[in-house]
Each structure stands twice: as C-alpha cells, then as structure tokens.
Subunit: 348 residues, 4 copies
C-alpha cells in the first residue's frame, strides 16, 4: 500500500452520484489518510459533482467518469456503491491487491440459495463481512482485500441482538421492527418517495419476511447463536431523511434476569469505539447519530412478557453504509479503526 | 334525548384547549346532530378558543369556562378530554341520564390491580369500552350513558390482532411495535417534544412493557382469545404530528395457511364502516387516514418465520381518540354509527 | 341545471390521479349537491383509484377512464386538473351549457403576450377568474359556465395585498416571498422533490420574476390599483406537504397610518366567508388551514421602513386550488358560496 | 496564548446545555487546536452532559458547572452562549487577555438607542463584529480579545446583500424575508415550538420591523453603503430543525445590468473560504449546509421589476452561530481562519 507513505491512500468511489456515494465522499474528504481519486457514475457520467451533490463543495468541480474497470484502476481502494449485481463483474477486474469495499449486497450472504431466493440472480460469492463488532469479524477484516459492507437494517438489528445470543439468553426466534428514513430507498425518483408522500406518514413495506435484508439478519444472528435463528423482520418508512431505529425482541430463556441481560450487553460492547450502550433509563433516538458512525443501544428485560427488548439507532448512511465501510477499510489497511470517523452527531 | 327533535344534541367538551379537545370540536362542528355547548379548560379557562385552537375559526370567539360540574351541566352529552384521574369525580356529578364519553384512561381497565400498577391511583371503575369493532362491544354501546374511549395504541393494536384471535389462528404471545406522531404526547411543552428535537428523529420510549397502554391491549386481546395473552408493546415516536402505524405479530398455530388468515380478517371486518382491510399487496400508511376515522389494516403470513404479521394505521386523534369517541356516542344515542365521520383522509 | 332537482349535480374530474384531482374528489365527496361522475387520467387510465389515491376509500373501486371529451360528456360540471395547455382543446368540445372549471393556467391571463412569454405557447383565451374575494369577480362568476381557477401563489398573494391597493395605501411596487409545501409541485417523481431532498431543507426556485405566477399576481393587483403594479415574486419550497405562507410588502404612501391600514383590510374582508383577518397581534400559520378553504391574513404597518407588510396563509390544494374551484363553482351554479366547504383546519 | 505551544488552547463554554452551546462543543471537539475545558450552565448545572446533549458522546460524562466567573477562569478562550444581557457582567470578570466570544446579542450594536429600543435594557457596549466577510471586519478581528458573534439572520442577510451595496448597485431600501428552522428559537419548551405545532406549518412572527435582528442588519448594510439603509425584515418559521434561507431584494440603480451584478458578487466573495457564490442557474438550499460553515449565495437581476434578488442559505447553528464564532476566534488567535471548520454539509 504505497499510498500510506506517499501522498495518501488513493480511493475511488463508484456510484458517486447516489446517497451512499455522497456519504462516502463526505467521510473520505475528512479522512486524514485517504486521497479521493476517480469518481464514477452510470447515467450521471459527464456531470460535475457540484450539480448532483452540492453539499460537497470542495469536490464540486470534479467530473464524474463512467463506471468502468479502467476508470477505477490505479487506486489503492475502490468503494463500490452500485445497484445489486454490479459489483461482482467489476471486482474481478480490479486486481487482487486492491482493496475493494462493496456497499452493495452481492457478497454478503453465505448461502447461495438464500441469495437466489431473495435476489433472483446467481450468487457472486461471499466476502469478509464488514461488521467488526460481530464476534470474530474484526480479525477477519484485518488485512483483507475484499469487504462486503453490511446492509443498513442488518447492521442495526445485529448490533441490537447479537449480545443476547452470544450470552445464550434468548430463544432463536426474534422479531425486528425497524423505522427507517427515506434515504435508505435511494435517490431514484419514485412517486411513493416524494416529499409530499412521505412527510406526515409512517408506512410499512416488505412485510412478511420478504425484505432482502431478512436472510442477512438471520445469517448474522445464527452465526452467533450457533443454531438457526428465525427472524420476523418488518421495515417501515418514517418521515426523516436519515436514521434507523430498530426495536428487537426475543423470548428469554429460563432464569434470565435483568442483571444478566445488562451484563451481556456491557460485555459485548466493552471497548467498542462506535457502539454506545446507553446508561439505563435512556433510550436511543436516531437524531443523536446524524452524520456519526455511532450505534446507540439500550436493552431491557420485560419480565411480564418474558422478553428481552433491545432498541438500537444508527445513521443508515453512516454506520449503516459509508461509515461502516470506512471503519472496515481502516481495519483492512492497518489504520486505526476509528480514523476519520466520529461518534458525534449533528443535533438538533 | 330530547335534543334530537329540537335544536340538536347539546354537547359539552371538557379539556377543549388540548389536542383531543380540539379534535372533538373539529368533528362535532361538522356533525349534523350535535350542537356545541360549553367548552371548558383548566389553566386556559377565560381564554378565547381562537387564541388556542386557531384552526377552529367558527368557534374562535368562544370563551373557555373552568372545568366544573356546573359548567358541564345542562348538556345531553359531555365529552371529557382530561388528564388521567380527573374523569371519575366529575362524572359522578353529571347525572345518570347524561351521556359521558371519557377520552381518558380512567374507566378502560377491568382489573383494579392493573390500574393501580400502571397508574398508581385507586381504580375508578369500568365503563363500556368504545371500540365497536371488537366482538360484543357494539351491542354494549347502544343506549349506554357511559363510554370509556380506548387509548390510541390499544385501538390500532387491537384492530390489527383481534381477528387472528377470534379465528384461533395464533398463539397468545404477541409483539406490537408502534410508531406514533407527536400529538399523542399532548400539548404541554416539554423539551423532548420540541420540533427541533423530534424532526429528523425516531426514538423509543416506555420500552419493556411499562407503557400504560400495555394492560389495555392485553385485556382486549385476552377477551377475544378467551385466555390470557402476553403482550410485548414498544411505542416509538416519529417525526409527524398525527398517525400511528402498528406492526403486530404472533406465531401461528399448526396448519394455519395464508387463506385462513385472509379469511379471518375479511370476516372480522365485513361490513365495518371504518376498518378497511386493504387489497392484498397494499400496505397501510398513516397519511391515508389523516383527519379520517378510518383504520387501515393489512395482514400476511410469514411462512418462514411461522408468524402472522398485521399492520394497521390510524389517525391517533381521530379514530384513536375523538373520532372513536363520536362513533361510540352515535351508537349510544341511537344515531347512525358513521354520522358526522368520514373515511376520507386529507392527503397528501 | 337539471341535476339540482334530481340526483345531484353530476361532476366529472379530469386528472383524477394527481394532487389537485385528489383534493377535488375529497371535497366533492363531502359536498351535498354534487354527484361524482367520470374520473379520468392520462397515463393512469385503467387503474383503480384506490391504488393511486388510497385516502379516498369510498371511491377506491372507481376505475380511471382516459381523458377524452367522450368520457367527460354527460356531466353538469367538469373540473379540469390537467397540465398547462390541455384545457383549451378539451373545453371546446364540452358544450357551452356545461360548467367547465379549469384548475390549470390556460385561461387565467388577459394578456396574450404575457401568456406566450411565460408559457411559450399560443394563448387560449381568458375566462372569468375564480377569486370571488377580488373586487368585481364574484358578480362575474354567478351563472358563468367557464371558470379559470387562480394559481395557488396568486390566490394568497392577491388576498394579502389587494385591500391595500383598493384603499390606495401603497405604491405600485410590491415584493412577495412565499414559502410553499411540496404538493404544489405535483405528483410526478423528480429527484429534487424526493422526501430525502426536501425534508430538512428550504430552497428557492424561479427567482427573479421568472415564475409563471408572476404575471397573474401583476394582473390581479394592477386591476385593483387601476395602474400597472411591479411585482417581485420569489417562491420557496419548505418541508411540508401542503400550505403556502406569503409575506408581501409595499411602500405606503404619505400620511398612511396603522389605523387606515387596519380599516382597509377590515373593509375588504367584511363578510367574506373564507378570509379571516386575524385579531391584531396574531399571525397566520399554514397548519391552521390544513384541508380547509380558509385564508388567514394579517397586516401591519412598519413605520420605520415605511412599509405595509401583509402575511397570508392558505392550503395550496384547498383554497389554492380545489376548494377555490368549488367555491367558484357554487357561485356559478347558484348554490351557497360556502356549500361543501369548511373553514376548519385539521390541526395539529 | 501559551496554550498553542502546550496542550492546546483551553476553551470554556458557558451555556453548554443549549443548542448554541451544543454546536460549539460539536465543533470544538473536532478542532485540532482547542482543548475543551469548563462547561457551564444555568438550571442544568450539576447534570451530566450526556443526559442533555446525547449526540456528544465523547463529552457525555462531563458534569456541567454553574456559570460563574470562577468556573470560567483559567481558560484561553471563553465562548458565551447565554441569554441576552448576561454576557456583559460576566465578561468584565474574565480578564482582558482572555478571548471572550459572545454568541449573544449584547455587544453587536453600535447605537445605544437601537439597543435600548429593541432589547429594553442598558447598552453594554460594542465589540469587534465577528463577520470576517464584511469589508474591514477581518482585520479588526485579528488579535482581538473580544468578539460579538453576529445574529443568525444578520449573518445570512448581510452576506446576501452587502456586495450590492459595496458596488453601489442598489437603493438603500431593502426587503428581507427569511425562513428559519426551529433551533434558532432555542431549547426552552414552549407550546408554539412543539413538534406537533411546527411540523407541517410555516408561520410568520416578529413582523413589521420588530424583530431584534432588524437593527443589526440595518447597521451592517449601512456601514457598507455609507448611508442609512432602510430594512424591512420578516422572519418566518418552517418545519426543519436547522437552516435559514433568506430572500433579499432591493431596487437597482439606473444602468445596472446583470453582468455588473454578477461581477459585484464574484468580487465580494473572491477567496472567501466559506461563502460559495453558486454557478448561475443553481439556487441555495439549506440542506446543502447542514452542519457546515458554508454560506451559499445566488443573485439575479429581475429586469422587469428593476430589482436585484439575492438568496442565501446557512446553517443557523453553524455559520449562523457556533461556526461563525470559531471562524472569528481562529482569526483572533492567529490560527488559519478555516481550522476545524468544514464546507461540507451532511446531506441528504
């Protein structure tokens, strides 16, 4: 990685005109080790970035290239923020020594049948999973040259629930209901995403286990539980641009008490730079995490219902996508895990 | 009810300066049979309504009286939109022939221990429960002179789930996660309810079964199930003024299939004037119900998770409070149940 | 108008899938004299209304026809909610005895050069202007069979300023800055109208006198002033679905005092069913008018700046479009002007 | 300033529990030269910051001291984010060599009569004015030990209009209409600032020249114009937490053309690190500036109306308060003006 000793680590961003791409650029522009190289896009190739991402003034004059292996060559790191199914072929042409960080879904799932069932195309493979907080993953990420960045919902749901499985506290049957801001649905204009439609409205979609993030949550929790976990996942859309609040619950096993629950979560997040288990009695709000890489978690035992209830909040574009991508890239490159990232949100 | 043949049914509203009171007035002003009589308030007594509820122009010059039995006497119907614990003593002094419709919690619960545990005061009693859609309730409401209007969360959660229990489809262990607009938290100024705090933020509160609406949901579903039902209820606050979206799930029993689920819901809501079981594939959004008395419901069977997932949306101030109150009052007074109410929302 | 004595006045709505069309249907469905006939659309022809306008439950099963003269024939009233330039050819084929109410711009302007300059197409003509509050207009509307419904910005700006011109208080050089909700921009999906883009953002557009509503405001104020009026109009977009707040100012002439200003506005709006000159010291907020046909106005004299400042608020889809259309249609049909309309807003 | 060579410049923040204080801390925490010292508050003294400003995780354990001269002593810089009238007495006890940066209004105005007329208390004095972009101010700020941070509205209105006066293009009679997010109104709970009230609503307040920022705008523009400038200023509140969009207009003098206007603005902002004169045809949106110190400006000549129209957007808490404060403090301390500040916003 010659860049480290020279002029910085050269990073390209494919898909620079979308929301994930814009957030990657916001973070990379403030990162002390990265130098922003090629910016590429699909239909927006040829346009100045300033016309598409006017919040990124220092990069306003950059012209977007077309997303091709050639445009992306010559970089130390390539961040892919592309529609599903586009990362695989591209990655193959990028060289094994280039760090490829895929913010798409292509390489997240282990099970080819799951992939095909939910995405309807051949499975591209599986890359190291960019959720360092998940047991065993941080080690896997150090020095890797391929990273599958988790989905936004799986990030927050997994952080909320894996400590309970790690400590053997709950039954392998969970319910996750998550409220998401609209940026998770992307920047393509669709009627149901118009401001007039979403302001003042909460709505459900992808109900009944059909959302593509379901198998990813299942995979994460199952790996920690050491047994299959059944996941009922319902995403909802609420009137804000950013943020996901996930409410997650599972039945506790016999004899589990509040102290054990608290202990499990304290232990799971001890020393984690980006997960904040809130003091008891305080609950996460997505606004606390705006633009930050923090995940806020709280957990409680509902004794009457015999359930553990964990709630977690993230910024879907930061910890849920671009911040998580940079966190894992830092690990892969041997940099401090939190370099260029913050736990301070923009609030109110 | 002499008013019916004369100048209209005289209705008083106690608590006219709050959000529930304002919504009652909005509906009553458009109701063909009601005549709006005394308007009372606590700290706002002596103020013109126009300074407090400027959206109610035709009533702008009305001066609020203090909430006393005297001020409320001489009416056919008294709607109470008061803080918890205030309805009981007042109602005793209103005469048995007056229809008293309590939008507060005082008379909702059957179990005195539940009341005392969740509200911390002596139980005032139990009145007929104003959710006509719930099996057996409509009959109880006809001709009654006392109505306990359901809480907003219990309204939407009960409508989402009771058909499943009525048909014996699910296990008595449910999870309800609801996203609510801020008007449900009332009009008293509190820092965490400031626009600066709530815009752009989704947050959880009352997690772990401690929200006061929990025993009410439990009571409703248990009555239909014929056995105790365990309820895990998590309310969340999202950035909109009105609306609740409830996501509700329970394990299905053996052999339950999608057709049985659909059939149960179609049967439960057949002929209901205000509940709309959406066509398959469409999902509720709260904006569809703004200002209307409609409840939108959809349900699906998640075969992988072995769960029924029902989602329902209402306007918390209309069907969830004031509209529900008028619907039940109509029944009590022998009027058409839907008189003065609409299923058309203000959208977008 | 045989319908009045029979089954109601048969009304068709062309453009029923858009926001203006939806609002027309919401109002017509609650109007005691109208019967809703044909609903037509362009690209959405063949679709059930329930899939497009799910807030209109009673009309959910109606299938949209294609917008043709044939589909619209056989009605007493035809409301047109179509893109600019489409109303003229259609209206010609609808029969002179049919009341045609055009919510588009085609017939608003008197000056063909203005039309061609701002709209870039040949001028279709001029119809009676549907702003009954404007001096002389109410009389013109009675019995007419053609109505040009004003634009939303001209409605609110004209109401805010015409009393000052009617009383000769101000110089013919005005500044209007208006904040609008996003529904005014319509339902066609565009990136800059996405919820993710508009939430949390106020932005200007059409700055420098280029917005098409500029000549309409100029025309209205000039007619009252009896001399040409110069208008600087800047529209801005703010994060809400509905509502326009217009801040309007002009230099006062010599000797004009606060009492004269107040008197002028009281006189202009005396007896008006839908304009509410607020008590002194209270200022309009768009939320007061949500779903209502009210226009709230306040005015003050800034003695230091030598300026009258008037602020007005409306719901752009109601008083600013569909409500204004029905108000004028009532006049044309000899019905009470306020029939089927309300001054009560949905709030909070 | 010994701190520069040692452990950083020690900065205290008085008023750390409010919105301005929180934003100061967000910026200071990321500033490479500042070390955060005492945090003080009024009623919130004794509370952990994490309970009040949960978005500032690294400072969550800090306990707020009471705002006294003693608590604030021993620092190189003291930022005051206090209610009006509180800064004067405090500043006197802080030592002449301490840099005192007042985010309040106390020391902004030159004219004692203006102060007394608008604030109703004795005038405390006048400090160097922290708007480096204003001609002559940057020099005045270098090395100063007292800074009066401009108000949020004056910041944006002055940036939008001073170039026109500097180039002698316009008459001294301006209209400013500004749309602000709610955070400008502070964190004290008031009914009209509740989320339920502000979401979905645009409203005017302080109309008619009575807003306290009026004389500050007048002072700034008059100083550049070299003659008295008449200002008509109307602030409005729109449904977002942060951001101000100001629409500003004045009549142009004879012979002024579009090229002269463009040239004047290009010249005024040439080399400015934080003001971005947008490319022609693009218009400011507040969301572009979220959390950034950027001010976006656009200007156009409306030839028909004979007016220059300038529109500017800032984040009221950043460039409008805390970012502007740090920018000026950088100058006072001999640091690079843009140190610790960014022109990149958090978007969408």
């Amino acid at each position: 990685m010659e860049g480290i000793d020279g002029m910085g680590i050269r990073a390209a961003v494919a898909g620079a005109s979308g929301y994930a791409g814009g957030e990657l650029l916001r973070i990379l522009a403030g990162h002390p080790e990265f130098e922003i190289g090629a910016l590429t896009a699909g239909a927006n190739a040829g346009t100045e970035l300033g016309a598409l991402q006017p919040h990124l003034r220092p990069l306003a004059d950059r012209v977007l290239a077309e997303t091709t292996p050639e445009a992306l060559s010559g970089h130390d790191v390539v961040f892919l923020a592309l529609p599903h199914g586009r990362s695989g072929p591209l990655a193959e042409q990028l060289g094994d020594d280039v760090l490829v960080v895929d913010c798409g879904a292509d390489f997240r799932l282990h099970d080819a049948a799951d992939w095909e069932g939910f995405y309807g195309s051949p499975h591209a493979g599986t890359w190291p999973y960019g959720l360092p907080e998940l047991p065993g993953r941080r080690e896997e990420l150090r020095g890797t040259r391929r990273i599958a960045v988790p989905g936004c919902y799986p990030t927050v749901a997994t952080l909320a629930l894996f400590p309970a499985f790690a400590a053997g506290l709950v039954e392998p049957d969970v319910v996750v209901v998550a409220a998401s801001g609209t940026s998770g649905a992307g920047k393509s204009p669709k009627t149901h995403l118009l401001g007039s439609e979403v302001m003042g409205s909460a709505s459900a979609y992808g109900v009944g286990g059909v959302h593509r993030h379901t198998p990813e949550i299942t995979q994460n929790l199952g790996a920690v539980a050491g047994e299959p976990v059944t996941v009922s996942f319902t995403p909802t859309l609420v009137p804000m641009s950013r943020g996901i609040l996930a409410t997650c619950t599972a039945k506790v096993g016999p004899g589990v008490d509040a102290a054990a629950v608290r202990r499990a979560y304290e232990s799971a997040f001890d020393g984690e730079p980006f997960v904040w288990l809130l003091p008891e009695g305080r609950w996460p709000a997505t606004a606390m995490t705006l633009g930050s890489n923090a995940a806020l978690v709280q957990v409680v035992l509902d004794e009457r219902a015999g359930r553990l209830v964990a709630v977690a909040a993230i910024d879907n574009l930061t910890k849920g996508t671009a911040g998580g991508a940079v966190q894992s890239a830092n690990l892969a490159l041997g940099l401090p895990e939190d370099l260029g990232l913050t736990t301070i949100g923009v609030s109110p």
